[in-house]
Amino acid sequence: MRLDPVALLTFLGMLAVTYGARIGGYWFVQRFTVGPRLKAGLEAVPLAVLTAIIAPTVLASGPAESLAALATLLLAWRLPVLAAVLGGILTVVLLRAVLA
């Protein structure tokens, strides 16, 4: 099967910058003293990054997605992850059909 050397070189470049980012933050925090301000920031990273990833889908795609996100949260309050996710997907399918 074909393997173009330029393609391989591209992938190795992508690997270098991706792995660099994945170990870079870890390496920095491990090497240098983390003050209270940086510590508070790092504790907020999970909330902030996850919010940023989903913000366009949840808040700016349309009423079906926003309402389905709300339904997913309500389901997640009581149900396991998989059930809440499937319920959210079902909700978005239904709402898209109804609101379209």
Partner: protein
């Protein structure tokens, strides 16, 4: 399996590994359409299935791979692709830094291997675990290895069979990742009831998403929410 059966460290490894794999199940399912679509798109752009699989195996970063495939051309715009990948994956700097305090049970080599697998899905699930119990290498690799292998498998299959799922939005599959991340976000929020980083991140992410191309909004929102939490320290102290 009852806990009384647990004898040696290898048993604990297996139990933790299997628990990780089990808790990764929703994401193992929701990644399927994305892998198939990416593989099909790569074939469409003229990449061979071997090249597609190598990209998945070496880079292991879904959104960057989608952008790289979109930019793919002849001759390959290698610098543009690598630079775009660096920008898209800059969020991993924040993510790795946030995970560091939860990796005390990892030997150095384990940590640097684990960080190769720091995809959003694995990172988020690992943090959810760390909010409840200390994160073990066995649990982390229980998340990472099945997810890695399934990413390879589904992108490869997509490369071979092409556009099997032509309209994933018809089945709500495009919403699957948002749903999983919402549930994980909700779980983390229960342990750490702070709205400021969420509100600031959402506002900045939306603004940047409207104004800038690509996935800059993730890094911008993440950084803004983080900075907001960091700046609050003085007024709280």
């Amino acid at each position: 399996m009852s806990t009384t059966e647990l004898r040696g460290p290898s048993d604990r490894w297996r139990v933790d590994f299997l628990l990780g794999a089990w808790q990764m199940l929703p994401l193992l399912i929701s990644v399927i359409p994305f892998g198939l679509i990416l593989g099909a798109a790569a074939t469409d752009k003229g990449l061979s299935p071997l090249e597609t699989m190598l990209m998945s195996g070496l880079v292991f970063a879904g959104s960057a791979q989608f952008v790289a495939t979109g930019l793919w051309n002849h001759p390959v715009p290698i610098l543009v692709i690598v630079a775009s990948t660096a920008l898209i994956n800059s969020r991993h700097l924040l993510m790795g830094a946030a995970l560091e305090s939860h990796m005390r049970l990892f030997r150095s080599a384990q940590a640097y291997l684990a960080l190769f697998f720091l995809a959003d899905e694995i990172w988020a699930t690992a943090l959810r675990r760390a909010a409840q119990r200390p994160l073990t290498p066995a649990y982390y690799f229980g998340l990472a290895i099945p997810f890695y292998l399934s990413w390879l498998f589904w992108t490869m299959l997509g490369a071979f069979v092409g556009g099997v799922i032509a309209h994933p939005e018809r089945y709500g599959l495009d919403f699957a990742f948002a749903a999983v991340f919402l549930v994980i976000l909700f779980g983390l929020w229960k342990h750490q009831r702070r709205l400021l980083p969420i509100a600031v991140s959402a506002a900045v992410a939306l603004l940047v998403w409207k104004l800038a191309p690509g996935v800059w909004y993730i890094f911008a929102g993440g950084l803004a929410g983080t900075a907001a939490a960091a700046l609050m320290v003085r007024s709280e102290a």
